[in-house]
């Protein structure tokens, strides 16, 4: 059976219908007519067929629409809430390296890229900070006055919101590692506080002089 053989209108309708359904793009009357050869009358037949198809699909799940490039079938927009579920994805997971980077920024902010790399012992891949910046969980809060003037990162209020925190001090307390230095015992005992204050005054003096 060669494509040239059939012409009668009662035959082109299912083919026009199928063509509109499988083309993946809008089809003009000319392109539809071209499926059936060079006959002059075919354009008019195609137009009649399009009108008939539009009626056939009234009240169904899809409708025939004319857009700039021609005709296409499209799903009714009021079905969007259901149809969008077809493409719902499971949320992906961040890499271990990214979570580590975020944890370091959260607990040690403000930090530079170099600080993070020193701590993790490996270079940060380029996209890592970018991902966190795009998510608006971290931001650049300044630059350190050392050669290269590296950017200094800190977390954002949006980060706090995501984790449902009011302040950074609500971050989970770190389990005690083994004590590193003796002065960990800065308990809220008054003498100690007084001592701290003393020290600070001294430092202020130094700063003022410097």
């Amino acid at each position: 059976m060669s494509p040239e053989e059939i012409k009668p209108p009662e035959e082109i309708k299912p083919i026009v219908e199928a063509a509109l359904m499988v083309a993946g793009e809008p089809l003009s009357v000319d392109r539809l007519a071209a499926l059936f050869g060079e006959d002059d009358g075919i354009r008019q037949e195609v137009e009649q067929t399009l009108a008939a198809l539009r009626e056939d699909y009234a009240g169904r799940g899809i409708e025939l629409k004319e857009v700039a490039q021609g005709f296409r079938f499209q799903a009714r927009t009021d079905f969007a809430p259901w149809l969008n579920r077809l493409w719902e994805e499971k949320p992906p997971r961040y890499s271990r390296a990214l979570v580590e980077t975020l944890a370091i920024i959260a607990y040690r902010q403000p930090v530079t890229r170099g600080d993070i790399e020193d701590l993790r012992g490996v270079a940060l891949s380029t996209g890592m900070l970018k991902t966190l910046l795009e998510r608006e969980w971290i931001r650049v809060v300044g630059h350190r006055e050392v050669p290269g003037r590296p950017a200094v990162y800190a977390t954002t209020p949006k980060f706090l919101d995501y984790f449902n925190l009011k302040t950074l001090s609500e971050l989970p307390p770190l389990p005690e590692m083994r004590p590193i230095e003796a002065p960990e015992e800065v308990a809220p005992s008054e003498p100690a506080a007084a001592q701290g204050e003393m020290e600070i005054c001294e430092v202020v003096g130094q700063v003022a002089e410097g």
Binding site: L83, E89, P91, R120, V141, H143, E145, A154, M177, I200
Partner: protein, 282 residues
Amino acid sequence: MHSMTPPDPLASHTVPATTPDTSSETSAPIAMFRGRPITELPHDLYIPPDALEVILEAFEGPLDLLLYLIRRHNLDILDIPIAEVTVQYMAYIDLMQGLRLDLAAEYLVMAAVLAEIKSRMLLPRPAAAAEPEVDPRAELMRRLQEYERYKEAAAGIDALPRLEREVHPVVVAFPARQVRRPEPVVGLTALGRVYVEVLLAAERYAHHHITREPLSVRERMVLVLGRLAEAPYTAFTQLFTVEEGRRGVVVAFLAILELLRESLIEIVQSEPQGPIYVKAAA
């Protein structure tokens, strides 16, 4: 290809071909080359060498070539005249080698197999042994038959309606489609756990002590940097909030010192005893 017509090695690619007609080996073209029909390989018609190459390359292996020879001469696959087939097979091998085709080693292995079967069949059977001897051709015939089954099955699969050729799935537009790509999730407890693991690893491998300032100091450091971003030149005293009490002031002061130590801010005093200003490191 399901019928008993001889399978044609050219049928499914490279050269449009019709099945060689084994009953009258004269006129049926087996291939079209530059618009000219090519009839049977042998006989007197001149075959352009490059067309011959195409034909020979069309064989999928020694079994395919053997099957072609058997079918072309209407021989019984279950009773192969080994002598005859071997001669023809060797002639094709010579042809392929003459054309310097990339001849798979399997073709030569098959030649040796054929020669061996031929010699075994020429040996006189021991009259004493009454029990029927195994046909030396049995294994080859089994392999040929088996291969032919799958060759036909392949033709059957090739003839199935399939996507991109006869089957066109419906894809209608969906203008209201929204791509909702959920962001990756991070757990809060994971954050602390991961940080501690990083610290432990850093201690173990880097041999340098990680001091842990109270989080409130670090948080204040960020706050100060934020203030300086808004007002780049801020009076030192404005960075303290009396309402926070003594502890708050201490935290603020420690934060400023730490920022200074980390070269994040500069402290400026234009004249002795004059007001102290803090600015973000330029």
